[in-house]
């Protein structure tokens, strides 16, 4: 079959889709454009403006233009590259609808043709995000007068080129077997460590290092612009010559698995079930079936063994969760030592990271709440079950997080950061219980709230869905910042918050288990 015949078929296929009887009408499409414009004008533009103005303060600019900041850029670039390779099996750049996967990618047409559009969309999204992030940071520097236009423009262009490189790595991650991509990701992370340790060869030899080199010339007029990294990044789109081969190497089973998973997630998110959506992302276990779980001793101990045994069946996820908790503790303990203006970023990042990492250890907790109700599987009341399943996340947060916080204390952070961290983790685990026991969204939240900007009932839904991370960010994060200047007040505030969240969680749990056996 010739290329022109393939093109003719694709054109006809698209015309059949475009003529579908159930497609949105022009009025629907117009409404979506109207909503997009409103969101851009009312939310996005003011938000970006305030971020740029916030970053343009002298303290923040001094930090992001510090002499060694280029190393941070290099490390971040390498971590992004490794992440692109590793996340591709969960969410790759090629995720068409299951229908198109089955009947278009499954047809005789080359996948380099049928899957080109989804790939171009993914590239466009990455390029847009890179443009926004680079534009915000560089814009702040231009506003603060710490850089000239040429190096700023070169950094933005470098970020755009690098986003294309990331897109290709993302495709490699989806198209190539794990035995290829995992060692490659590990090697990339190795260069990140090398850059972090000050080994300049890793900066010179890697694309993320080239971006870092261009970053170095920002805010440092004495550092001349090095043109060869610019040229190297400029010609990097040539790598896309490999894209057709990678697209043709994609397996339909792999694309279909992702297509179905993300379609389910989309439906769950549309119906307001974010917890269900995140559950779809959790892949089923494939190992550990021959490692029996003992289930001995009193019930809480047996449940702890069950939860640990289950966590070990997801070794990569558990390892990442453990590392994240250690990192969260380390970050939180460093909040007092960070320059004014950035301490809130460190504090909020640490508690959010801890909250997300705690979720890795909450599978048993989620299972207990899902089974609460009149037809509960379990012969104990829901409070006992949830209390027992909370042991593992509590232990993980306290022990693993304290390792990070302890390391920070040994490294010079204030000692009081360690007990503060332990108190914070108790709060975070309680919020996890609160979140797990949430139950279905009240239908009343979907009632329209008419304003001149349209129906804003979506804000209610968002607040309901994300109440737990918002509580963690505002209370644990906010009090972590307050702890720097007003320790006793922050401790009292956190203890009161623990009491309130405990009461709320208890109320939700009792509501879930009202009809269960005791």
């Amino acid at each position: 079959m010739t290329a022109s015949a393939d093109r003719q078929i694709l054109t006809q296929v698209r015309s059949v889709i475009a003529g579908g009887s159930g497609l949105p009408t022009p009025i629907n499409a117009g409404y979506m454009i109207y909503v997009a414009l409103l969101v851009t004008a009312i939310v996005a533009v003011p938000l970006i403006r305030s971020i740029v103005l916030g970053l343009a303060s002298a303290d923040v600019l001094a930090t992001i233009t510090a002499p060694d900041s280029y190393r941070v850029v290099g490390v971040v670039g390498a971590v992004l590259a490794a992440s692109a390779l590793l996340i591709a099996r969960t969410r790759g750049p090629i995720v068409p609808s299951p229908f198109l996967t089955e009947f278009l990618a499954g047809s005789q047409l080359a996948r380099s043709d049928t899957l080109r559009r989804p790939f171009l969309v993914s590239i466009s999204v990455l390029v847009l995000v890179a443009f926004m992030v680079a534009g915000i940071v560089v814009g702040a520097q231009l506003l603060g007068g710490t850089t000239a236009v040429l190096p700023a423009a070169l950094v933005v262009l470098a970020c755009l080129a690098y986003s294309g490189f990331l897109a290709l790595l993302w495709l490699i991650g989806q198209s190539c077997p794990r035995r290829t991509t995992v060692p490659l990701a590990v090697a990339i992370l190795g260069t990140a460590i090398a850059i972090g340790l000050g080994i300049d060869a890793a900066v010179l030899a890697t694309p993320w290092g080239w971006v870092a080199m261009l970053w170095e010339s920002l805010g440092h007029p004495v550092t001349p612009i090095r043109w060869w990294p610019v040229i190297a990044l400029a010609v990097s789109p040539l790598m896309f010559l490999a894209a057709p081969t990678l697209l043709n190497n994609l397996r339909s089973s792999e694309i279909m698995a992702q297509a179905r998973r993300w379609q389910s997630i989309g439906i769950l998110v549309q119906t307001g079930d974010v917890a269900g959506a995140s559950g779809v992302l959790r892949s089923p276990p494939t190992r550990g079936r021959h490692s029996p779980i003992a289930l001995t001793g009193p019930l809480p101990l047996a449940i702890l063994q069950r939860d640990i045994g289950a966590a070990l069946r997801f070794p990569v996820r558990s390892a990442l969760g453990a590392v994240a908790l250690v990192g969260a503790g380390w970050l939180n303990a460093h909040t007092p030592s960070v320059t004014n203006g950035l301490d809130w970023i460190v504090a909020l990042s640490s508690v959010l990271l801890a909250y997300m990492a705690a979720g890795v250890w909450c599978d048993g907790l989620r299972n207990a709440t899902e089974n609460a109700g009149p037809t509960s599987l379990y012969g104990r009341n829901i409070l006992t079950m949830i209390g027992s399943h909370a042991l593992l996340p509590a232990l993980a947060c306290v022990v693993l997080g304290s390792i990070g916080a302890g390391a920070a204390v040994i490294g010079g952070a204030v000692f009081s950061a360690l007990p503060w961290w332990i108190l914070s983790t108790i709060f975070i685990v309680l919020v996890r219980i609160l979140d797990c026991a949430k139950g279905p969204m009240p239908i009343g939240l979907l009632l329209p709230i008419v304003t001149p900007a349209g129906d804003v009932s979506i804000l209610n839904v968002i607040a309901w869905q994300f109440d737990a991370p918002l509580i963690v960010l505002t209370i644990a994060g906010g009090l972590s910042i307050l702890f720097v200047t007003a320790g006793p007040e922050a401790i009292i505030g956190l203890i009161i918050s623990i009491g309130i969240v405990m009461a709320l969680a208890g109320r939700r749990v009792r509501a879930l288990g009202r009809l269960t056996t005791s």
């Binding site: 059949v16 579908g20 009887s21 159930g22 089955e102 009947f103 005789q108 397996r251 079936r289």
Partner: protein, 210 residues
């Protein structure tokens, strides 16, 4: 016409055996029925024969070459219906078939004609303007089979085509599939229906417990 060959084909995940080793050859103009209890690996075998899954043991071949759906030639040759397809909620039953026919190079009115004839053969022509959510389970099964029949193929693989069909429809589907065999196609079906196996298959393979 194409022939399929399984040489000691087996499949396992981790250390769990999903399909015990099995061997056979099916030539053009022949139909093979795969039989066995639930969990004996029938669907896994069909996935291997359609190139969607690599066997962890043995070899699966089409015309002497390894089966891998990433090759255009394999996709062009093998039409497999294993489980329900991913329907598009915004397309009608007829638009589904027209779309599929178009992707296989049957353009314009030819795609419409082949979609019409497939629906007529399966006696679902009256459903042409229905969305998939408006079909009964048996009608959905017939549309599902139509998605495999509306495109050109040399090898047809069907997993339990009798599901949700009444006796009349089972006989109708059997006749259509047998006609494909008589045309020269290579057909493999997994089935629990003795009537369907009797009407379609020239040979059968019984899978043991893995």
């Amino acid at each position: 016409m194409s022939y399929l060959e399984a040489r000691d084909v087996s499949a396992s995940i981790d250390s769990e055996l999903l399909l015990a080793p099995v061997s056979f050859t099916v030539g053009g103009g022949e139909a093979l029925a795969v039989q066995g209890r639930n969990g004996s690996g029938k669907t896994t075998l069909l996935r291997i024969l359609s190139g969607q899954v690599h066997p962890t043991g043995g070899r699966a071949l089409i015309d002497g070459a390894p089966l891998d759906e990433r090759h255009r030639s394999v996709r062009r040759t093998v039409s497999a219906r294993i489980g329900m397809p991913a329907f598009a909620r915004e397309l009608t039953a007829h638009e589904h078939l027209r779309f599929i026919a178009t992707t296989w190079g049957r353009l314009g009115s030819t795609a419409t004609d082949v979609a019409d004839s497939t629906m007529t053969a399966l006696e679902i022509g009256s459903l042409r303007n229905r969305f998939v959510n408006e079909l009964s389970s048996g009608q959905t099964q017939l549309l599902s089979l139509a998605t495999a029949l509306v495109r050109p193929f040399d090898v047809l693989i069907l997993d339990e085509p009798e599901q949700r069909l009444d006796a009349t429809r089972r006989a109708l589907v059997s006749a259509i599939v047998r006609a494909e065999v008589d045309r020269g196609a290579t057909v493999v079906i997994a089935s629990h229906s003795p009537d369907m196996v009797e009407a379609i298959a020239d040979q059968a393979v019984l899978l043991g417990s893995p």
